[in-house]
């Protein structure tokens, strides 16, 4: 008589559904929400909030990289971004990987300071990837160098606000008993 062992999957189906929904939300956010600000990285306010909430609900390493990759693929299919599909996918993926790494390094991002830092790192990772891609694509670099520090600060501030917004949402969800509900679903 043989004994079959069932390998436990890293992400449960329920978690994958949640992450897919967050990926879709990132793309919807990019298409629908237009903040009237001509400031580099301003979309990070809502984008990073979504990533921080996603990490709070699925606290596993790799969850945000998966959200980044899926949302990047979706965004590329929707034609978002100015410089082609690869540029779009990599910049979305960078945010996810950046947030995953920061969550891994800090242990968790559920308290206020780590959440804010996750927002900053995620948005700055996106900006750094875009800059590296611009250099690789041989786009004239004078604008890149002139705008880097300004762009870094605005991306960091938008990411910080996004991280704080995400933390507030997570706190509200916890108070509303959503985490207890999720534990039952799992």
């Amino acid at each position: 008589m043989s004994v079959q062992t069932i390998r436990k999957r890293y992400f449960t189906t329920f978690e994958l559904i949640l992450l897919a929904l967050f990926s879709a939300l990132v793309v919807v956010d990019k298409i629908v929400l237009h903040l009237p600000l001509a400031i580099p990285g301003h979309s990070g306010v809502t984008w990073m909030a979504i990533l921080v909430v996603a990490r709070g609900l699925v606290p596993k390493t790799g969850a945000l990289s998966l959200v980044g990759l899926t949302s990047g693929l979706l965004a590329a299919f929707f034609g978002l971004g100015d410089l082609g599909a690869l540029y779009t996918i990599l910049s979305y993926l960078a945010s996810g990987i950046g947030d995953d790494l920061i969550a891994l390094f800090l242990g968790d991002i559920e308290s206020i300071v780590p959440a804010a830092l996750a927002g900053i790192v995620g948005n700055v990772a996106k900006m750094l990837t875009k800059t590296a891609m611009a250099v690789l694509l041989q786009i004239p670099a004078s604008f890149i160098a002139l705008g880097l520090l300004y762009s870094f600060f605005t991306n960091a501030i938008a990411g910080l606000l996004g991280g704080l917004l995400g933390w507030l949402i997570l706190r509200a969800l916890r108070r509303a008993g959503f985490f207890t509900y999720l534990a039952e679903k799992r």
Binding site: G84, F105, L117, P140, I144, A145, L146, L149
Partner: protein, 170 residues
């Protein structure tokens, strides 16, 4: 390692990146100040008139121009920058241009693939076409965006601008 120390390490790393960018920006600005005007410089947008190199387009020169913007039909986003006609007037005398003079803009899309669009001077001048020289918000590139029929979507726009060719007598 305590979480406080880890937080400080992350903040320190971000501070280091900011310092690197500050130094890179300052070096770049001093390099731009020394750029010879007679030869095309790597990393700058080049302007050619009738096949002859005319200028490296400098961000500092653009700041002299009035800013311009339009809301694109495709996504309803505000595109801002400078009218292309004003950018060309900075370097080319308008008396040398006729309505049929060609403005050929070349950009980069996905690696080595070039993207080119050709406009006439009359199309560039037409306010309804809103032909815009638009530096991206994050400062990483410049695109040529417009509202005219054949140049009204992101697929038609020329992103990652590298060169502008003006043919005064096509």
């Amino acid at each position: 390692m305590s979480q406080t120390l880890r937080v400080l390490i992350v903040i320190g790393a971000l501070g280091l990146i900011a310092i690197i960018f500050a130094v890179a920006g300052s070096v770049s600005q001093s390099q731009i100040a020394q750029v010879p005007v007679t030869t095309p410089q790597a990393g700058m947008i080049h302007l050619y008139v009738d096949g002859t190199f005319t200028a490296n387009l400098l961000p500092t020169e653009m700041q002299k121009l009035a800013s311009a913007s339009f809301v694109d039909k495709e996504q309803g986003k505000t595109q801002s920058g400078y009218w292309l006609k004003d950018v060309i007037r900075l370097y080319v005398k308008e008396t040398a241009l006729t309505a049929s003079s060609q403005i050929i803009v070349t950009g980069v899309r996905q690696g080595t693939e070039k993207k080119i669009a050709t406009l006439t001077w009359a199309e560039t001048l037409d306010p309804a076409n809103s032909v815009l020289y638009s530096p991206s918000n994050d400062g990483t590139s410049v695109k040529i965006a417009a509202m005219m029929e054949r140049l009204s979507t992101r697929n038609d726009w020329v992103q990652g601008l590298t060169q502008i060719d003006v043919k005064t007598k096509p």
